[in-house]
Amino acid sequence: MQIETNTPIVKQKKTRNWKRWAIHLFPIPALLIFSIFIVYPLVAALSYSFYDWNGITRGAFVGLANFIDLFTLQPFSNMFWNAAKNNVLYFVVQMIVQNGIAFVLAFIIYKRIKGSEFLKVAYFLPRLLSVIVVGFLWKLILNPNFGALNVILGEFGMESLQKAWLGDPKTALMAIILVNCWFGIGFAMLIFLAGLQSIPKELVEAAKLDGANGANVITKIILPLMLPSIMIMTVLTFIQSFEAFELVYAMQGSQGEPYYSTDLLAVFFYRLAFGGSAAGDSTAVGLGSALAVVLFLFIATCTALLLKYMQKKQVEM
């Protein structure tokens, strides 16, 4: 079919030569902007990681020294592993809580309950707020003295549960992850709903006629057929959690307070790249670039593996 698309151009060849060439100008503006502001910086970040840095002036080529420092030099290596651990938790909890709840809600709306249009709007609305607004809003709600959450707990006689949610290293990270889930559930719900609605009704009907019970229909028919939307949400959640930065920055600042309990890899990276870190010394830009490369390779590899695995699953079905 695409060969046919080409024929008109072939016909033009003889007569209007310049017009045939003009078409090659079409992708140039997009290509230029994309290459200068996306591709170049990422490639440059890779090369930066092999140099010693003096503030923001490049020093000597040091090979893999920045990478070795990142994993062995204190306090960086501690910060790195701490942030990596927090990041894994961020991803896992988001997968379970955000995507789990979103799936249940999508299923309920799919079952055609009344008010589903209102419900969709209600779930989706938080997604429209800027992450910084979300962060500040919840910071006010979670405030230990006057924040709405503790007040509500008080009204229901659950004073024992009242807490300085963001001030306690035990609860701060979880509070932030749950705020992120609050923000993201509506979007995930819509993706799952689209997946559910694409399942042919006849398949479900046929299974029911054959005597399959509810649980069987869900596990044997609905879940496998929803694999594409589950795959999309898994990949998106993965990428989003490993580059999460804004929410922590808005709620807990660039040090991942309290005591680095909410530190994430991207927050640590921000500290290394733009200071505010205890070590605002000459190695920070090199170390930051090394961290960017490690994080980039990790995200790219995992995303590729995830996509490949899910694709295989789909083919097998």
Partner: protein
């Protein structure tokens, strides 16, 4: 599936309980913005007793909110326009011609969707400095345009491919140039896709605060999200004003959403599904 007696009510309970969790913080934000701080402390949950616009007056008088607002509009509108023009051209080229490098070009652009550009922020900062774009709204415009290109090309290319070729061929017989065909024949046909591209990119550029956080320090060049950041530094005890700031910065998006909620939801998810 067999409906037992209790499943329906259970569905309603879960669905509306979660709607409350979703909406309540936003309602609280709007209600609190009409209360003086003292009342927020005393009755954080109730409706405002002394309904007052004082917080908004203070916000607009003491914070250059109008400037932030103008900057946000300027940056978002120009980047969305740039995205529409550049990606229509590129997607048309990719979808309608089959030179050997076209597939390569397509995947080159798509790569950008899986790569967190934040990781290139140090070279970007230096690049912007060298280009003299630090503290300029153009640094943001270029970033949002570049960042929006991959997804927009994916969506538009998909749409161009579904258009019947006959229309173009007819126009070509009449001697129309490629640009003419794109502008007069195809663009009107793919209007829904352009709407989707517009909404996705408008939301992300309006709400972003990472790039202005790094590129903008001049108070008069700040967009609304970074403006909020300084607001929280200065008014940390004045809860009423803080809530007013949060409400005011979310309002344009919420109003637009209520005008076209379906398009918004379709738009944002289109990027993921298609």
């Amino acid at each position: 599936m067999k409906q037992t007696l209790w499943t329906r009510p259970l569905y309603y309970i879960i669905a509306f309980a979660f709607a409350t969790i979703s909406l309540y913080p936003i309602v609280l934000m709007v209600l609190s913005s009409f209360k003086p701080s003292a009342e927020i402390f005393m009755n954080p949950l109730s409706f405002p007793k002394n309904f007052s616009l004082d917080t908004y007056r203070r916000l607009i008088e003491e914070v250059p909110f109008g400037t932030y607002f103008f900057n946000s509009v300027f940056v978002s509108v120009i980047s969305v326009l740039l995205i529409l023009v550049t990606t229509s051209l590129a997607a048309f080229y990719i979808a309608r011609y089959t030179f050997w490098w076209n597939n390569f070009l397509f995947f080159f652009f798509l790569m950008g969707m899986m790569i967190p550009i934040k990781l290139g922020i140090v070279p970007l900062f230096i690049l912007m400095k060298d280009l003299g774009l630090l503290n300029s709204l153009w640094s943001l415009i270029f970033m949002y345009t570049a960042g929006g290109i991959p997804l927009s090309i994916l969506i538009l290319t998909g749409f161009f491919r579904t258009m019947p070729v006959e229309l173009e061929e007819a126009a070509r017989m009449d001697g129309a140039s490629d640009l003419r065909i794109l502008w007069s024949v195809l663009i009107p046909l793919i209007r829904p896709a352009l709407g989707t591209v517009m909404i996705i990119n408008f939301i992300s550029s309006w709400n972003d605060f990472f790039f202005p956080l790094i590129f903008i320090t001049d108070e008069m060049k700040k967009t609304i999200p970074v403006g909020m950041l300084s607001l929280f530094g200065e008014y940390s005890a004045d809860w009423g004003t803080l809530f007013a700031g949060l409400t005011l910065s979310s309002l344009p998006m919420i109003i637009l959403f209520f005008v076209a909620s379906k398009q918004f939801m379709d738009g944002l998810t289109a990027g993921a599904v298609k």
